[in-house]
Subunit: 438 residues, 2 copies
């Protein structure tokens, strides 16, 4: 029984994935992290280190002796290392960089030279390339001796003398064709590639569109310099979605985990938008404040303010949500801007008509002294006008932001709501003043 248990415990403990070990280590108190990490053998240690979060990576680096750090950092894959260096203090980076092996140093320098969030920065220079006149058998033999250095060998890129990309052979094609054929005979020569300065969001779209496991990256002279792998693309897609969602909720995103930042950073990330919205709300307030005479005489008008600006805000938010998401997933690229806004305006009119009729009915059914058919009609008409305007603003403003080269997602729900509030009370009091004869 004991032996059985031991066996069971062993099978539970030993063959776990690096990402799971990394998480377990990250959860330990800081003093224990170093001890736990030392228990790993060298190959494991590198894999696990790559999966640790930045704070743990940093604290470990500071506690390590010089040579240990160098060994691990030297063997990390260049793209992970570039990302770590982004987070470390510049002095530490400089010190480490100076002591890396020459080829690793070159690889990292290469990546750090590209702008953040571009293909150049997220690519890894560890691709597999070969020449067109090499046979499949020879390629396989070469892979057998070099496989550990290449992060992803599922594609072999074929280049000419000056490193220009001329074709691609998948590992699948490599093993399923006759070993005597050359790469040139079986390669696909219509390679889809990306440039180093392409935005990572666009890179993700290319990989997603063509179901690639990796996409080759070329420099301005069209020479192959690296690949972007599908696992990095998944992380990009998730990060970009979080950014969009935060922007829609009027929270600034800065790439860090919101729940791991301190409360003052949290407040800072939220206060900018709140101040903008506070200012806009004071405009709405001033408009209402300016209608004191009307409100004193017909106080019930105030009771409909939340309903009108609330519905307007909601319809505007719906329109901006679908347009912003459509812009970032390319779902609406077949429709012109005008058509999208027109569709939203019609939808707004339909929704406004429905809600307006319901509101007239409700206002008409109010108890006692508050019942006032004129007010009911005023509210109904205002609601319809506000719905149409809110749809147009909600769908049009993201396009305007895009045209101005700003992030359409900044045109967030809270912002649309607040902007529509101003329009809403203006419309409401104009119609009320007209209908009620002021």
């Amino acid at each position: 029984l004991d032996a059985n248990n031991l066996q069971g415990a062993k099978s539970l403990l030993i063959p776990v994935q690096p990402v799971d070990i990394a998480e377990a280590i990250g959860d330990l108190p800081e003093a224990m992290q170093l001890i736990a990490f030392r228990l790993l053998n060298k190959t494991e240690a590198i894999d696990v280190y790559e999966h640790l979060d930045y704070t743990t990576q940093q604290s470990l680096i500071e506690e390590f002796k010089r040579q240990d750090v160098l060994d691990i950092v030297d063997k990390m894959s260049p793209d992970d290392r570039a990302r770590l260096f982004d987070e470390l203090p510049a002095s530490v980076v400089k010190r480490i960089l100076a002591q890396l092996s020459p080829e690793e140093r070159q690889a990292t320098n290469l990546l750090l030279g590209y702008e953040e969030n571009t293909a150049g920065r997220i690519m890894t220079p560890e691709y597999t390339s070969s020449k067109a006149n090499i046979t499949l058998e020879e390629t396989l033999n070469r892979l057998r001796s070099h496989a550990t250095i290449s992060e992803l060998i599922y594609y072999i890129y074929v280049t000419d003398e000056s490193r220009h990309l001329t074709g691609v052979v998948s590992l699948k094609d490599l093993v399923t064709h006759e070993p005597q054929q050359t790469l040139g005979e079986i390669m696909k020569s219509d390679v889809i590639y990306i440039k180093t300065d392409m935005d990572q969001e666009e890179v993700a779209k290319v990989v997603q569109r063509y179901d690639f496991l990796a996409v080759p990256v070329v420099d301005r002279e069209l020479r192959l310099v690296g690949i972007v792998t599908v696992d990095d693309v998944i992380d990009i897609i998730e990060k970009e979605a979080t950014e969009d969602i935060y922007a829609l909720g009027a929270v600034q995103s800065d790439g860090d985990n919101y729940f791991e930042t301190n409360l003052f950073t949290v407040a800072r990330r939220r206060v900018t938008w709140l101040l903008v919205l506070l200012f806009t709300n004071t405009i709405t307030g001033s408009i209402i404040g300016g209608q004191e005479e009307l409100l004193t005489r017909i106080t019930v008008l105030a009771a409909f303010i939340p309903l009108l600006i609330g519905s307007g805000g909601n319809i505007g938010t719906q329109s901006s949500t679908v347009v912003i998401r459509g812009l970032s997933t390319d779902e609406l690229k077949d429709l012109g801007v005008g058509k999208v806004i027109f569709r939203e305006a019609i939808a707004g009119a339909l929704l406004g008509l429905g809600l307006g009729l319901i509101t007239i009915l409700w206002a008409y059914l109010l108890p006692q002294s508050q019942r006032n058919l004129t007010v009911a009609v005023t509210v109904g008409i205002s609601l319809m006008a506000i719905s149409i305007l809110a749809s147009i603003a909600g769908s049009g403003l993201p396009f305007l932001f895009k045209l101005l080269k700003l992030d359409p997602a900044l045109m967030s729900g809270p912002f649309i709501s607040t902007a529509v509030d101003v329009l809403g009370v203006l419309i409401y009091f104009s119609i009320a003043g007209y209908v009620l004869g002021f």
Copy 2:
């Protein structure tokens, strides 16, 4: 020159990716689609057909002669075919299914038997498996003869006599080890697998966490039945993000492209939430309506309603946005529910304090008769109280929804805003009544 041009045109036209051809065909008028599609050779036709959107797939299926349809549908990969069948009228599915080749029929029936959005439905049964005692050389030879049937051969799964999953060998390991070794010798036996009934969102998380190109799917008896590939996972991540974003914007999502549905469907997908919100707003309206006496005497109170409920709504939206996104990306799983809500409440208090002070200042600087220090203080205190409550409601309600097994994203920005409106005016008039002595 002419010859040159011809060559150029050819190289532009011929080697294009199936997904690009599919898009070009989708953009043609319906009458042309069939003609263009006929120009493709058979292998191309299947690839292209898989990438067409559902409406084009359907219209082509109706125009095709019986045998053409069968040939293409028979050769589609089973997971794409299952998805097409989901969209086709039941009678057409039945007719086609009856005439498929027996093994293809079985594969499709297998997939259609699983619930939508589970691993069973999105997996493909076309995986590569082998036994542990087979040598690498023999495996390579087998792959060479069978490679076309398997969708992704980058992993070879090792199973025992009763199809239980015992190990996995990546194609990379296969080609980089000595051909005389057996699969059993080089396989990793700690295979991470998923069950057929796992939700597709969870499947995506597994693939993302371990950077897999595919994950094996097992049935209840732990027998290997299929794999889910990384390209499908990317589509799932994007679809789930769209669903979350739509829910946050109070738009129902039903899997279809919003911009391709007709306007009445659009109105239907938006009206449910608007009605809920309209109802909630009438409550806010009633509360204000009930304060007629107070409002008649101090009309300026009405001017602050948009500011108070607007700020409350915005702070609530921010809190619910970060919590909802945190729930779906697992970012906050290390923090307890209590701690998240507490953090948000403190952040709300900080933000409320800042905004409250600014508002008091602003209210104090109002022109002429409207200046009223008592009102200013009332507004300031209310704003702070509302901010704290909005943060607690915004962060707590998504957890409550999750506890009730509902989608936390339903606790959307518009809903939080509207719920906070009710609380906001209640607090405002209570404080106003108290401070102003009613």
